[in-house]
């Protein structure tokens, strides 16, 4: 992919966001893209490839928002970073002039997404890439549910340190509320990992603005046996 981009868009800087998405895990890729993309320059072309349906009928897409351009498969991967409300335009990547031809059936990253990204980076308009399209597969960012004094959320993502990133926004947790996971009450939100001793469990507002459960200098995922989908309860007092 870098070779194709370097050939078709010489001099354009290329940055690796992550190569640590588990194989075929579209949702994890979508979550990482959602939380990283806002920090990149306006107009950045984001190319994302977690693509178990490559070569099948799923459409290759470009989604344009006010902030950026997203290129990848129509399998949900782009839809948490470029949700419905943020979309300015969606096109199907149908015009073969912007693809490598012949196109392999197994690696559209190299043959479709990379050359299209290079075209966008060198000034091609998304409207030139193909006709308007609807997004077929939408992932939804699950919002936590509030019932009385209880906010019920889930672990959305486990990072490389074993920290459990939940779907509960930090500002949904009032000062005296306590956080519960797997029957363990962690007490109130702390400001940072270092507010507890090494090996202790702590809940903080992480860098994505979401409640995050960590073990200082350890892995909360291992300590608590938690994973994406594990329920988390916030109890206001």
């Amino acid at each position: 992919m870098k070779g194709v981009i370097g050939t078709r868009a010489p001099g354009q800087p290329i940055v690796d966001l992550t190569h640590a998405v588990p194989p075929q895990d579209v949702r994890t890729g979508a979550i990482i893209l959602r939380h990283a993309a806002p920090w990149f320059p306006k107009g950045t072309v984001h190319v994302a490839v977690v693509d178990p349906g490559v070569g099948s009928e799923r459409t290759p897409l470009c989604i344009e928002t006010d902030a950026a351009l997203f290129v990848g498969p129509d399998n949900g991967l782009l839809t948490l970073a470029a949700p419905r409300a943020a979309r300015r335009r969606t096109v199907a990547l149908a015009d073969l002039r912007f693809h490598l031809v012949p196109t392999s059936a197994t690696f559209h990253g190299r043959d479709v997404f990379a050359p299209v990204a290079a075209a966008l980076a060198t000034g091609t308009s998304p409207t030139d890439l193909g006709p308007p399209a609807d997004v077929a597969v939408e992932l939804e960012w699950t919002e936590p549910v509030t019932t009385g004094r209880v906010v019920l959320g889930v672990v959305a993502y486990v990072d490389t340190f074993g920290n459990l990133v939940t779907n509960v926004p930090g500002d949904a947790v009032t000062g005296s509320a306590t956080i519960e996971i797997g029957g363990t009450n962690l007490g109130a939100l702390r400001r940072t990992y270092a507010d507890v001793a090494a090996g202790e469990i702590v809940a903080v507002v992480g860098s994505w603005g979401l409640v995050e459960i960590a073990v200082r200098n350890g892995s909360a995922a291992a300590t608590l046996g938690a994973a994406p989908g594990s329920p988390v309860r916030i109890l206001a007092t």
Copy 2:
């Protein structure tokens, strides 16, 4: 290596191809370089370091082809990407003006290959780097053997998904031929992974143009217990 290149060739873009070659596995490095290099811009300088014989008598080389320049040890690493027929010129990296001096005996990547690559990237001719040389260690790309209606190949490479990339070109497989590995007949070639259900074994033509055996959303290497060298049979009907 990036520090040395950045010092001697400021502003030249540097791209990481892979850091996932197993230690000392020259052949795997050579196979990856062979299939990635053609996608890079004409004149790209490819620096490759899988170098268990560093500091011994093996010669550091630059091989020039019509497409690119290859810099690395004379241990076969460059020879699948720059095979005999494609070579325009081979030189031994003998001129110490282009090396870091003193040169360590254990990391020619930093002390020889990186500064030589920087010199090439900034316009130095290969002929300035040292005298013409012969390649001492040649790896051979094993071609499959056809006997009557049977093509006998091998697994050449296992990728990070556990897909088994064989040495059989996709166009060697006629429409109704079936593919066999380890006593399992996979039936005819399919177009892409998504042509079978999750967990099923499938044979496709992969992004390198070679027959590739995969488990959809799984690892064919684990499922089939196969590895580089495992035999594969194509049976025309």
Copy 3:
């Protein structure tokens, strides 16, 4: 971090040094930075983040030397690459104009160190970033101890190949001295890994100029059960 740097310092090349420091292992990060930084261009901005105390009272720092600028937490991470004797100026990163605001309490890499690095890369003087500061946490590079004909050192670092990098400078080992680790005498220093047969243990002067114990085509850490801190003896004869 790359998004923030790309936004605030467009066009500045960004290079990944390593992502393989074990979580929270400040000392390993400091050792890698110490031995890699000298190879980068004069004036390079090195941003380092191994930061278990993020958001606590530890100060974010910029240390300037004659060779480079180092940005990161005051937890020792920068102090082996920029030791006391090499420091020209140290400042606390107090001026919020150069930070992302609001600043998260858990990821100063993105919110403090990256934007400060971008400011430095685009010409901001360290003195603009905040007031002069003292370094609170200093790591020390343990020097080996010489007693008569014996030099006593330790394993300082284990690299990704399992090679044991000691704290003993290569020039502290005279020609006929022998190297001992864990009761095994390795004989005299060799020039390079390839001076012994595959699977054999060898001591060489590695690319950092330090005595390094390796198993050719294998892992010395696994073979010898050694780790950082394991003692090493050099016996002059």
